[in-house]
Chain length 160, copies 2
C-alpha cells in the first residue's frame, strides 16, 4: 500500500529547547514510506523560527517547494521571499550558506527534499564550524572551519 | 539567486501525439535550479491522462506528493485515491508495477521526486518490456522481459 497520509507518517516535533532555531514540525513522508536515497518531508515552521543555522552541503543537493505561508530565504548576502508554488534549489558543493526564516505571522509549510549521501560535510560559515558525517565509518564530527577537532556542535554555541 | 518561480522553470509539454498516456505538463524545478542528484518537478495531469505506463524501477526511489485534485494510484492489484497532503512512495527494487491516472474531472497536480541513478532498469510488467539506461556507456535499450533485444519502446506498442 503505497499511500502515506500525514497521520500514517512519522512526525518529528522540535521544541524551542532542542535548538536555537525555534520550534518546528517535520512530517517524514519518505522515511515512513521506506525510501532511503533521498529525504522528502513536509516542515511546518511557525512565525519566528528558522529552518536551521546558515549552512551548505558538500555532497547533498537540497530543494524546498513552498506549500502555504511564506519564508525568507537567506543565501549569502541576499534575502528572497518564497511563496506557494515557488521552489528554491541549493546545489551540493556551492560554498554559499543558506537558511530559511519565517518572518510572517502564520505557519509556513514546505516540502524539503535532500539527497542521502553516504558521506557529507556541512559547513556553517557564520559559526566557525564544519560537520562531517561518514555512514561507512559510523562517525559524526564537528571541527572548526580550519579543521580543529574536539569542538561543540554549531547548534550549542552561545548566540547561535 | 536560489528562488525558482514556475515562469523561471523549464516547462515540458507532453501532447496526446507524444505518448499513449495522454497529455501532461511538467514544471521542472530541480533541473532549472541546476540540481543533478534527484529530479523534482510539478506534473499537471488532465482528466483521463496517466502519468506513465505501469512500471517499477530497479535503482531509483520515487515519491509523489499531492498538491491539488486527486489521482488514482494503481500498484499491483490495488487502486488507491491520493488527495492533497498525501504522498505515495515507491521504493527502488520492489518488483511491483505502478502508475497514476486522473479519473477526476479537474486537473491533478503533484510533485514527483525521483533519484537520478547513473544506471537504472525499468520493468513494464504489463507490456513485456524492460528499459535499461546506462549513463556511463551512453546507452538506452529496450528488451522483452526475458531479455530479447531489438524491440520497440513499451510506449510504441499497440494498445499501450
Amino acid at each position: 500500500m503505497p499511500v502515506i497520509t500525514p497521520s500514517d507518517a512519522h512526525v518529528e516535533i522540535i521544541t524551542a529547547n532542542d535548538t536555537p532555531c525555534g520550534p518546528a514540525t517535520g512530517i517524514r513522508f519518505s522515511d515512513s514510506g521506506g525510501l532511503t536515497q533521498f529525504g522528502a518531508f513536509v516542515e511546518v515552521l511557525p512565525p519566528g523560527s528558522r529552518s536551521s543555522l546558515c549552512h551548505w552541503h558538500r555532497e547533498e543537493d537540497e530543494m524546498i517547494y513552498m506549500l502555504t505561508g511564506s519564508v525568507t530565504v537567506y543565501e549569502g548576502g541576499t534575502a528572497s521571499t518564497l511563496t506557494p508554488g515557488q521552489a528554491a534549489c541549493f546545489k551540493a558543493g556551492v560554498p554559499v550558506g543558506h537558511f530559511l526564516k519565517n518572518e510572517g505571522t502564520s505557519d509556513a509549510t514546505y516540502l524539503v527534499i535532500g539527497t542521502r549521501a553516504p558521506r557529507d560535510e556541512v559547513t556553517y560559515p557564520d559559526h566557525d564550524r564544519k560537520y562531517v558525517r561518514d555512514d561507512a565509518a559510523g562517525t559524526t564530527t564537528f571541527t572548526t572551519l580550519d579543521g580543529t577537532p574536539g569542538v561543540e556542535s554549531a547548534y550549542l554555541l552561545p548566540g547561535a
